[in-house]
């Protein structure tokens, strides 16, 4: 575990080197009178999974949606692969907390929907979608409708849809919070395999400390409103070990404890 304290955070947050996928520069967000984010400077290393963690209302989802281009920042800018973000773009794909699946469309059409919007032909997009449906473990469910699936399976559809558009950066907004506990664990394990396999940049928002430590290469902890970077932690956990071994690993448990000690003061 590598702990970068709050004071040194701003220096370390801006990592040296060219393998930076997403750069956040001086981002502030005001909702009318309420200051949601203040002066966020952050780099997200390419090919890594970075988690935004913090107490509820700290603006972590706001920051993710600003990166997605879904809501504008009040000031500051976002650069993805060096290009300034002005709105949603094909190099970023979003996975929603409530899945955001079209209930009138089959799993196949939902997964292929990003490609459909790009104007890709039916056969081509379906063959791509089929590949990712298999990758998230939903083969055989192609012609099912979302309401015929469990919460965990629905989010797998959401994930497959994000993979299918072949974006460089995947933005996941509390993807497991509406999934039950047992499914969530299995899903986290599968997600790590996919992170390994897909070589994409993942930005992950969660309120679960265990989830953050288990999944992340790097954890950015935001303070309570107005959201600022409080701490950056790199768990440095040996991912070659089995999931069960990781969950019992001393380094894992220490990191969870460390983060909890830091966050405790924000809890009422």
């Amino acid at each position: 575990m590598r702990n970068i304290t709050a004071q040194a955070a701003s220096a370390a947050a801006v990592a040296a080197g060219s393998d930076v996928a997403v750069e956040v520069r001086g981002v502030c967000k005001m909702y009318n009178e309420v200051e949601a984010l203040r002066g966020i400077d952050l780099d997200f290393p390419a090919g890594k999974l970075t988690t935004l963690l913090g107490p509820s209302g700290c603006g972590k989802t706001t920051l993710l949606k600003i990166i997605a281009g879904l809501i504008p920042a009040t000031s500051g800018e976002i650069r993805v692969n060096g290009q300034t973000v002005t709105g949603p773009g094909p190099e970023r794909a979003f996975v929603f907390q409530d899945f955001a699946l079209m209930p009138w469309a089959t799993v196949m059409r939902n997964v292929a929907f990003g490609l459909e919007l790009k104007g890709m032909g039916k056969d081509e997009r379906q063959s791509i979608a089929r590949k990712y449906i298999a990758e998230v473990g939903l083969s055989g469910f192609e012609s099912k409708y979302p309401h015929e699936l469990s919460g965990g399976m629905r989010q797998r559809v959401g994930l497959a849809r994000a993979f299918a558009v072949n974006a460089d950066v995947l933005l996941l907004d509390e993807p497991f919070s509406a999934v039950d506990e047992q499914n969530r664990r299995k899903f986290q394990e599968d997600l790590l395999e996919l992170v390994e396999k897909e070589k994409k940049t993942f930005i992950f928002v969660t309120h679960s400390i265990e989830e953050a430590v288990y999944c992340s290469d790097r954890i950015v902890i935001l303070s309570r409103r107005p959201g600022r970077i409080a701490q950056i932690i790199e768990p440095e956990i040996d991912r070659t070990a089995s999931p069960d071994a990781i969950r019992r690993d001393q380094g894992y448990l220490d990191t969870v404890e460390e983060i909890w000690q830091g966050l405790k003061r924000y809890v009422d």
Binding site: L70, P90, F94, M102, W104, L117, H147, V165
Partner: protein, 250 residues
């Protein structure tokens, strides 16, 4: 429903009322109510007359035309009100007034504006049906989950695609409910319009039979009309049911 341990079929209650009607009719207690069997005989004869057929075509024509405009305009205004708070506060008060107002009172005014012909009837159908379609469409649009809209935007949907592929379908259950209620009101509109104009279509026949106390034909006409209205409503309901399988899981 079960009665004495037997399952009673759905339409059984209707049969009970038919029998009661027949008995009352045969007793001759009220000359306004002829026996049901006579009414049915009259209905069979009626639908074969050229008078009825041309009246039915005129009526259906006005109804379909009025409903077409009501659906197109209703959905358009409903979408506008659902998406824009300015349009909502500007139009909301009028829609709410008209949806509950006794529109029959307006038909004489419409007659002055549009003359004693089919146009007035079409406008009456439109005015009867459009408001509930506006209100239900608006409710449907407002109920579209924000994340579905964000999903569309984040995967690069243009505003038109967003409406055509996501928002419209997400609001479809409510829109269909609005159209079904609009159809029921539209049937009222077409009859009231024609009755007040009194010289065309079904209204003319109603006027003719009731004035001459030709109750067999009067009731035959009523039953055909009710059956048509219920049939239409049931048709839309069956479409609604097919769409409803997803309405519950949004």
């Amino acid at each position: 429903m079960t009665l004495f341990g037997f399952r009673v079929p759905m339409m059984a209650s209707l049969l009970v009322w038919c029998v009661i009607w027949e008995i009352v009719g045969r007793s001759g207690a009220m000359f306004l109510i002829p026996p049901l069997s006579d009414v049915i005989v009259a209905a069979v004869a009626l639908v074969q007359t050229a008078t009825w057929q041309s009246a039915a075509i005129t009526t259906l024509n006005s109804f379909l035309l009025g409903m077409f405009f009501a659906i197109v305009v209703g959905i358009a205004i409903g979408v506008l009100m659902g998406r824009s708070t300015t349009a909502d506060s500007l139009l909301g008060i009028w829609v709410n007034i008209f949806v509950s107002a006794p529109l029959s009172a307006l038909v004489p005014v419409l007659m002055i504006l549009f003359g004693m012909g089919e146009t007035t009837v079409v406008v009456t159908v439109f005015l009867f049906a459009v408001w509930i379609i506006v209100l239900d469409t608006r409710a449907g649009i407002q109920g579209v989950p924000p994340s579905l809209v964000e999903m569309g935007r984040s995967y690069g949907a243009s505003p038109w695609t967003l409406y055509g592929k996501i928002i419209f379908f997400a609001a479809l259950p409510e829109i269909l409910a609005g159209i079904r209620l609009g159809v029921v009101r539209g049937v009222k509109g077409v009859v009231i319009g024609q009755l007040l104009v009194a010289i065309i279509g079904y209204g003319e026949l109603f006027e003719l039979y009731s004035r001459n106390f030709d109750m067999e034909n009067f009731w035959a006409l009523t039953i055909i009309l009710f059956a048509a209205a219920m049939g239409l409503s049931a048709l839309i309901e069956s479409i609604e049911k097919r769409v409803d399988y997803y309405a519950g899981v949004r």
